[in-house]
């Protein structure tokens, strides 16, 4: 079987890289989504405005990609509402406790060769893979 490069994934990744570069080079800020969202819950800080604009930009970028660029995003998840709620809660607690998610650690942290981010990314990838293994092949 010939392996073909998934161009959409690569192009999407390049856009994430450009976005992260713009934020750090211009504004000195890390494009970490869990951090940006946490900041949105403390509206009185001076960092509130740029975080809100970034989040609103993401929402509109998502619409733009789905409507005009043929991006694939489901209109309904297969996971039940209860499991979505539990997973959402775990993702919120875990990313705050571990100071980052796939973007902050996986892109911005690894990109700077931060030891903490490399370790965190290995841990959350491994735990996620084990979770999927248990769900699909054990249960």
């Amino acid at each position: 079987m010939a392996f073909s490069i998934p161009w959409e994934s690569l192009a999407g990744g390049i856009l994430l890289g450009i976005s992260a570069t713009l934020m750090l080079l211009m504004n000195g800020k890390v494009a970490g989504i869990s951090g940006i969202l946490t900041g949105l819950m403390t509206p009185k800080t001076k960092d509130f405005a740029w975080r809100l604009l970034f989040a609103l930009g993401m929402i509109s970028g998502g619409v733009l990609a789905a409507l005009m660029l043929g991006g694939e995003a489901p209109v309904q998840f297969e996971t039940s509402s209860a499991m979505l709620a539990i997973a959402g809660l775990l993702v919120g607690v875990g990313t705050r406790l571990g100071n980052g998610c796939t973007s902050g650690h996986g892109i911005c942290g690894i990109g700077r060769l931060s030891k903490r981010s490399i370790v965190a990314t290995c841990v959350f990838m491994a735990v996620a893979a084990v979770t999927v293994f248990v769900r699909f092949h054990v249960l």
């Binding site: 504004n27 989504i33 946490t38 660029l69 998840f77 100071n99 959350f124 293994f133």
Partner: protein, 152 residues
């Protein structure tokens, strides 16, 4: 520092991030679970998302950003200074990995999906915000207690 430019940069970077999340396939949980299912019919395509992002960000960081004293339109680089791998980092990453493995959804993709008519995205998002906020509060309380015991 130009405040207008600062905000426009954030908005533009957000739009690029949202487009990247959707076209890359990261916002499709079935694809994410296929990527995480290394023992099954493994779909490696999402490796190219992180690969593509690092292909741009890593050289940009080391060649353009790191040599600079300060950002082009701000006073300083706001980067993490903590360099120790501690229990909090490891347990946080593990809890995040568990949640990511259950639903195949992480923070970036879910925010990018909020206006696509998917009610499940809002359920996940709302609970994630509760988790972020509650943990943040506990960390703040813990930090101020620590500061008090140090000054006392």
């Amino acid at each position: 520092m130009n405040n207008m430019l600062f905000r426009l940069t954030s908005l533009l970077a957000g739009v690029l991030f949202g487009i990247g999340m959707i076209i890359s396939g990261m916002a499709d949980p079935a694809k994410v679970l296929g990527f995480l299912d290394v023992a099954g019919n493994w779909d490696p395509s999402l490796m190219f998302v992180m690969g593509g992002a690092l292909m741009v960000f890593m050289p940009a960081y080391f060649l353009l950003i790191k040599p600079k004293q300060k950002p082009l339109n701000a006073e300083k680089f706001c980067l993490a200074t903590n360099k120790t791998v501690d229990g909090r980092l490891l347990s946080g990453a593990a809890i995040f990995g568990l949640g990511w493995g259950i639903a195949g959804i992480c923070p970036g993709p879910v925010v990018s999906s909020l206006a696509l008519g998917n009610s499940g995205a809002w359920i996940f998002f709302a609970c994630m915000m509760v988790g972020l906020g509650a943990t943040n509060l506990l960390i703040c309380i813990n930090n101020s207690k620590h500061a008090e015991s140090q000054t006392a």
